[in-house]
Every structure is written in C-alpha cells, then in structure tokens.
C-alpha cells in the first residue's frame, strides 16, 4: 500500500505546506500518526456507500431558530393598505 511508504521527508513537506514547523522528534510522531490514520482510512468500507447516504450529523437549525421561524410565520403580513399607511401613504 502506497501510504505505508510515507517518509519522514514527505511528512516534513506536508507539515511545511501548512506552515507547521516541528522538531524531528515530533515529525517522527506525525509520521507514525499519519500512517495510522491512513491505515484506518483503508479500513473504512466506503465502497458500500451510495450517493444518497448522508452524513450522521447534517446541518440543522437550532430549536430556538425553529421557534423564531414559527413565530414569524404565525404573524400575519400587513395588508397592502396597512403597508401603505405604514409607509406614510393615504
């Protein structure tokens, strides 16, 4: 597997590319950690996913926002005449 061949120099460059400066000892740790992460990626059965499979947590409005939205929808819109009055018309 290509990921197993990840080298210290490659990891040093990956870190440098995101502006991350590490000692050699810490780079060795980053190398081991990145190899472990890639091994986990290989263990994920992503081939079983269909396009319709959504993430476990998708963006959701909070209940407070939902309540606010409900309150707005329950407030009747001003009639055109009323809007005219509010705009200072006759």
């Amino acid at each position: 597997m290509a990921e197993d061949n990840l080298t210290l120099e490659q990891v040093r460059k990956m870190a440098a590319d995101i502006g991350w400066s590490l000692s050699n000892e810490h780079l060795e740790q980053l190398l081991r950690a990145t190899r472990a992460a890639r091994a986990r990626r290989a263990a994920l059965p992503v081939a079983s996913l269909d396009p319709a499979d959504e993430p476990a947590h998708v963006f959701r409005l909070s209940s407070a926002m939902e309540a606010l939205s409900d309150a707005r929808s329950l407030t009747p819109s001003p009639s055109p005449e009323r809007r005219g009055e509010m705009d200072g018309g006759k």
Partner: protein, 464 residues
C-alpha cells in the same frame, strides 16, 4: 454500620435521609481514606476537602430541616478534570491548560450541585481524554486499586480508581471511544455511556464533538441509574442535546430478565479480535448466567469491529485535531508524547474521508438499531484483556485498541460495562450491555439482574 467507604449511593441516601448518618461524618470518613491512600493511587488531580466539608455542612443543615433533595444529597462525588467546576482549574491533566480556571459550572456539575452532592475534587484523566497513561505530564497517572502496578484504564482513569478504591461512591467521566467503560472494566465497577445527547456536554472540554458522551461510574447498576437520573435532561445550549432525555432510569430495575431477548455479539471478541482466554471465559459465563436467569440468548452479527473502530477513530481524530491545531502549532512540546501522537493522527485526514466516515456512521447506526426489533439488549466484550502493567508502554499500546466499546460511540447507543469476575491474577473482568437508544432503563434492568445473581460488585480491593 457498614464501612462508610463501601456504602452505595442508595444505602447512603437512606441513612442520610433518615438522619442515621451525618453528611459531615460521611465526608470526613472518605476524606481520611483519600488522605491515607491516594498518594499511591493518584486518583485525584485536585482534592478539595474544604469544599466537601462546606457542602456536607450545608447538606446536614438542609436535611435536618427536612429539606431532603434526593439520592445525592450529602453524598460525595468527583468530576473528571475536563468538566468545569466554577472557580477551580479545568486542566485536562495537561500543561497546556494548567491555569485554565472555570468561570461557570458545566451543565452536569450544576445539576449535581443542585442535587446536594458533596464535591470531593477533580479526578485524573488521560491528557485531553486521549493520551495516557503518561509519566511526562505535570501530574502522575492514576493507578489500579486492585494492583497499583497495573493500568486502571482511561481516559476517565481517576474516576475508575476513586470509585473502586472506596474514595467515592460515584464519579463522573466522559466517553468518546470508551473512556467511561474502560476504567469501569479495568477497575471492576459499573460505567455507563448513555445515549448520545442524554447528558449535556456544555462546560466539558471536547475531544470529539459528535462522539463525546458524559456518564457516571458507580459500584452498582442501581447507583448508576440513580445518578443518570440526576444528570440527564435537555439542554438547549448544547446543540447535541436530545430533546427527550427523560430520566426514569431506575424504573423497573428489579423486574429481572426472564423472557428478555439478549443478543450476543461474539464475533467482536472471538474472531474480529481474539479476547484473552480469561476475559472470554468471563463473558461466556455471564451470558450463561443471563440464560440461567431466564433470558432468551442468541448470537447476533453486526458490522466487523475493525470497521467501527476505523469509523470512530477517523471522526474522533479529525474533530480533535481541529480543536487542538492552534496549540499543536504553537506549543507542541507542552503535550505529553501519547496525547500529541494520538491527536496528530487527525492532521492530514482528508475532508472526504471525514465526511465518508460520518456517512458510514449513519449506515452502521441504522443497521445496528434495527437489530433491536428482535432483541432487548446486546451483550459483548468491553475490554479484550485484563489490565496490563502501567509501566509497560508496549503492553499499554497493544491493549489500548483491543476493545469493543467504540462501536457504541459510533451508534450513539447506551452501553454499560459491569464486572464479570476476576482473572487468576486478581484483576477485574467485565462485560458490556448495550441497549436501544434512550432505553437505558432496560440496560440497567439486565445489569441489575446479573449483579444480584453474582458476587462481583461486593468484592473490594484491599488497599495497602
């Protein structure tokens, strides 16, 4: 009277409410025990006897006036040191946060204060709930009360050690890939990871936003249910909080298991990973005991353990690194080696891999929850091995990932580790009982039946 160190919460509550035990006397007994023994176990990172005595005096006054608040009133407890308690540092057992004073209580700490608990202090953790046991941090790692040369599990290490050692009848931990249930398994106590969202995460230092759970460690299933009742509840300020975290977890505790359907996930510990023979035998004996008690036991299959673990770790490390990146860039030397390397694993996870892990999570969770149409609980291993030596880094690393707890962080299911015997070396064995989301009451019911039919929870370590 029973030795106060081994009172359960339920027993203590009865004595305290009936004014047969003074909260101050109780607190003083446990303070003396902690002072005598914790120098060898390191369960406490910050011991606060002055706060405990103040809380105990207040409880005594209130109970004397007939203002009993409930089962925790006058009962000592501790918090893992990633949970905020106002006015005290929340260090996460790390140099990085050594001076991080909490301004307000975590939601769960506020609930336990309101319940009249007696706060004994902040408990040791693995650094940031991920790196440990470590000897390169400002505080030493907690040790196993059954044998202090052995690991006590983690990351809620102090919570497990303190509960097993008779320092506290209850301690609060957190669980992202098994961190309540691991110390419960290693120390021979009950540790619950409730359904995701049942206990608010507000005021708790995150490890992984979508996988973090807060849960109690106690010496009995009954106590655990009582504590979860106090901790659970919707918190509109925690975006992951479940709107229907209802409580009532101790209801039906004594109804037994006759006729209940128990699914055994053997492939986790027999083929996906091969558990230590003593651990495997302990699990099988527990399954046989449930069958003897009248449960209908059958084997079930779910996704392979390796897939769950890969999913858990991909999400966990990605979310953890996002939170830690600033410190990792500015002061990587201030982490202990174990936490640094484990968090670094999230540095170069591709966005697509993270998203795919969360997509797999939903699929795995849906498939697992569907199994509950034909069973009441699942039973499997918690740890694959009894506690290894704490001074053997290779053994710690080898056993660290040999567990079947992380699947239920992925699925969000309630999962409880309970004692299931002892190895020949005298170290605890454990099983894990898993329920349908929001049905913690069923998990406790099965655990209580098993506990009542065995002697494991009545054994205590002899501290030197």
């Amino acid at each position: 009277m029973t030795d106060l160190a081994w009172l359960t919460v339920a027993e203590a509550a009865e004595l305290l409410r009936g004014r047969k035990l003074s909260p101050v006397e109780y607190a003083r007994a446990l303070i003396a025990r902690i002072e005598r023994h914790d120098g060898r176990l390191n369960a406490f990172l910050r011991f606060t006897p002055e706060i405990a005595l103040e809380d105990a005096r207040r409880a005594e006054t209130e109970i004397t006036r007939g203002q009993w608040r409930g089962p925790l009133h006058g009962v000592p407890y501790g918090l893992k040191d990633i949970i905020d308690y106002s006015g005290l540092p929340t260090t996460a057992h790390s140099k990085i946060l050594a001076d991080n004073i909490a301004a307000i209580d975590a939601h769960v700490a506020a609930k336990l204060k309101a319940a009249g608990g007696v706060f004994m202090g902040k408990l040791a953790t693995h650094e940031f709930a991920i790196g440990g046991p470590s000897f390169d941090l400002p505080w030493p790692p907690a040790r196993n009360p059954w044998n202090r040369d052995h690991f006590c599990g983690g990351s809620s290490s102090g919570a497990g050690a303190a509960t097993a050692a008779g320092f506290l009848p209850v301690a609060i931990g957190t669980d992202t890939g098994g961190s309540v249930r691991n110390p419960a398994s290693m120390c021979g106590v009950a540790g619950m990871k409730p359904t995701y969202g049942v206990v608010s995460r507000r005021g708790v230092i995150a490890l992984s936003y979508s996988l973090d759970h807060i849960g109690p460690l106690t010496r009995t299933a009954h106590d655990n249910a009582l504590l979860l009742d106090l901790m659970a509840g919707h918190d509109p300020l925690d975006p992951g909080s479940a709107p229907h975290a209802a409580g009532g977890y101790a209801a039906g505790l004594d109804r037994g298991v006759k006729g209940l359907k128990v699914g055994v996930i053997r492939h986790f510990y027999q083929s996906d990973m091969k558990a230590d023979p003593e651990m495997a035998a302990g699990i099988e004996a527990a399954v046989a005991k449930l069958a003897d008690l009248g449960a209908e036991v059958r084997e079930i299959r779910t996704a392979p353990l390796g897939e769950y673990l890969a999913c858990n770790r991909t999400i966990l490390t990605s979310e953890a690194f996002a939170m830690h990146e600033k410190w990792m860039r500015e002061r990587p030397q201030d982490y202990g080696a174990l936490a640094r390397e484990r968090i670094m694993a999230g540095a170069f996870v591709r966005a697509a891999d993270y998203v795919n892990a969360t997509r797999l999570r939903r699929k795995m969770a849906d498939a697992f929850h569907a199994l509950f149409s034909e069973m009441d609980v699942a039973v499997t291993a918690s740890s694959m091995d009894p506690a290894c030596r704490i001074d053997d880094p290779q053994a710690v690393e080898y056993t660290y990932g040999r567990q079947a707890r992380a699947p239920f962080n992925v699925t969000g299911s309630p999962a409880l580790s309970v004692p299931a015997g002892f190895s020949k070396a005298g170290l605890p064995l454990a099983i894990q009982i898993v329920g349908k989301p929001f049905n913690e009451a069923m998990v406790y019911r099965v655990a209580n039946a098993y506990e009542q039919a065995t002697e494991w929870s009545k054994r205590h370590p002899a501290l030197a």
